[in-house]
């Protein structure tokens, strides 16, 4: 009897403790914390990663353009410096083109583009973070992330999306940005953004991001299908991530002029 009582007390203690931790996770996180953790979950998954990415750029009339690429990423500090290497398979006229980015948290990126037809490595200006990535509805900033302290964040509440508990966070840029307001639905369990809505100067909704498919890859929740739609133009970009892998031990020298000129075959196939 004593044993049962003890068991009961211990269970209660644990339950209470667990409950406390749960409520801590949900209640004591500020909107800024949520955005910061979301950025790590979305842009810094693993220490490095690789994915074969297919982007379909679809206009209002349904005409489709396709971008197919392999993207390699290596993180140098959690939430800090990263290097990206991109190799293009499609469209035909840019096949074998490579693109490399050194991303720094507090200054403009370094970017290089390799144009195979003239064997030219070209350094390109990088402060156009709101420019479209390869003609899609995603901006460079959408692809590589935005620092949390560039916006002020407020927690609007909690909502469910497809049965998943989400924090709803409103973010307002501190200085001029591509949007004037962003609302993010961030899944409470893994901090991935399941939906984002971007508002323009007229305070009208003009872009919407949605995660269509989330998969567990080596224990890391990963958005494998996503769509960005421009509400105003009707143009949308559907993106599928295939062959996603993390923690591959990608060597540092992959992100160098050598591999821009001669793509690293072991990584791009």
């Amino acid at each position: 009897m004593k044993l049962i009582k003890l068991f009961f007390v211990v269970s209660l203690f644990f339950l209470a403790g667990f409950g406390q931790r749960l409520s801590f996770a949900e209640d004591n996180l500020s909107a800024g914390d949520i955005i910061a953790r979301s950025r790590l979950a979305f842009y810094y998954a693993g220490d490095d990663g690789r994915a074969r990415v297919t982007m379909e750029l679809i206009n209002k009339a349904g005409q489709k353009r396709v971008r197919e690429l392999t993207m390699l990423r290596k993180d140098y500090a959690e939430g800090g410096e990263q290097k990206y290497f991109t190799y293009f398979y499609q469209p035909a006229d840019v096949k074998d083109t490579t693109f490399m980015v050194y991303k720094y948290p507090d200054k403009d990126d370094d970017r290089w583009l390799f144009i195979p037809a003239i064997n030219l490595v070209k350094r390109i200006a990088a402060n156009d973070k709101y420019a479209s990535f390869v003609g899609s509805d995603f901006t460079y900033e959408d692809i590589s992330g935005r620092k949390p302290d560039e916006d002020t964040h407020g927690l609007l509440g909690k909502e469910q999306i497809n049965g998943k508990n989400c924090f709803v966070v409103e973010s307002m840029p501190k200085s001029a940005a591509e949007y004037t307001k962003r609302i993010s639905w961030i899944e409470a369990e893994n901090f991935l953004p399941l939906k984002e809505e971007f508002y323009d100067k007229q305070n009208e909704l003009y872009r919407r991001f949605e995660a269509i498919e989330v998969k567990d890859i080596s224990g890391i929740a990963t958005i494998t299908k996503r769509v960005m739609k421009n509400i105003k133009t009707g143009h949308r970009t559907e993106v599928a991530f295939q062959e996603v892998e993390y923690n591959l031990g990608i060597e540092d020298d992959v992100f160098s002029e050598r591999y821009l000129r001669r793509p690293p075959l072991e990584w791009i196939r």
Binding site: L57, I118, A126, R262
Partner: protein, 430 residues
Amino acid sequence: MDKIEKNQNYNSKFKILVFGFLFCIYPSFFVFAEEFSLQGFLQTNYSVRIADDNPQGAKQGNLILGEERTQFKASFYPQKSKIGLFVKTDFYHDWVEDEWASDFREGYLDFVDDKFALRIGRQIHTWGVGDLLFINDVFPKNWEAFYSGRPLEYLKMGADSIKLDYYCDIVSIEAVAIPNFTADNLPSTGRFHYFDPYPAITYREMDKPHATFDDTEYALRFYRYIGDYDVGVYLYKGFFGSPAMKADNFNSPSAISHFYPELAVYGASAQRSALGGVVSAEYGYYDSLDDRGGGDPGIDNSHSRFLFGYQKAFPSDFSAGLQYYGELTHQYSQYKDNLPSAFAKKNELHQYLTLRLTKLLKYQTLKLSLFAFYSPDEQDFLLMPEATYNFSDNLQAALGANIFAGADDNTALGQHNKNDNIYLSVRYSF
């Protein structure tokens, strides 16, 4: 009955064999497909002189360029192999010459190892940080293609060469040997007006460097990324890309011939992100080995070339680039004292300013661009506006113009005053 069963047996065995074979070949086909790639394009390209004042020898009136072209590009890089192969070749019909021809653009073998890579064959080399201004990039260029509205890739020509790469954290090295000299392709008779100091003498012999050990060109590049800078150091020993002149008497010649004088170039470049954009600088000392004294009017004097560039990207897919370029002639007094009266006189410091503007529209399917060269000392310029539209991923059209003007008709750009042209190219890529 037995026979039928045997037949059925045979049939099913055959089917298993075929399916087995297909099963084996199917995945390997895809592996192979990844390793082998065949691509190319079909293209039409026309360029028409705006004015009706055509040069002597013009074959098709105002038509500077008119052609249908197809390109095939094949590569084979087997998985886990250190060897690869790449070939790029064009076939075209030229309306100006009214001929069918081919153009073997590139073709090389690659051997790749951990720290080394070797590339043997016809290949395009591109170095330096200038935008359409070349200092340490001494490799062959096709200026006629550039001035007549061909796509940019035709500005560079392949050189039959051997290239050895050495990759190292401290400094990487690219070493090129070109046993078979390829000259720049300059605007030619019949297609372009250009300045000639002695138009009366039409017969000219041309002496090219030979494919011998002595006439082999060597080029070296040392490069690394250090402290946010891309730094390069360059060495070259070979020949000027455009010909010099030999005459029995430069003041009243009766015989003229052309040749490619020896040249060495020592240079350096640096490039980094700064001032909200990218800043570049490049220098090269052109050592005119056949005329170090500077007294031979037919050969360029030794000179220094330098450039500073700045490019910046702005919101909504707009970018701009500015460059300052200078060419400082050494032994200028010798140059001046020996200059024949028929020649155009160069300033001691010859300069260019360039401007590039690029705007992308409609989800980057429409590109509007302008490139401009302007020389304040020679008072001439070249404007190159262009609009490119992608109808689809495969179909692209470009419409543009090359507009030349100058105070004199004997300067680098001013001599092309009457060569203003409008061009169109339509390309289907596959």
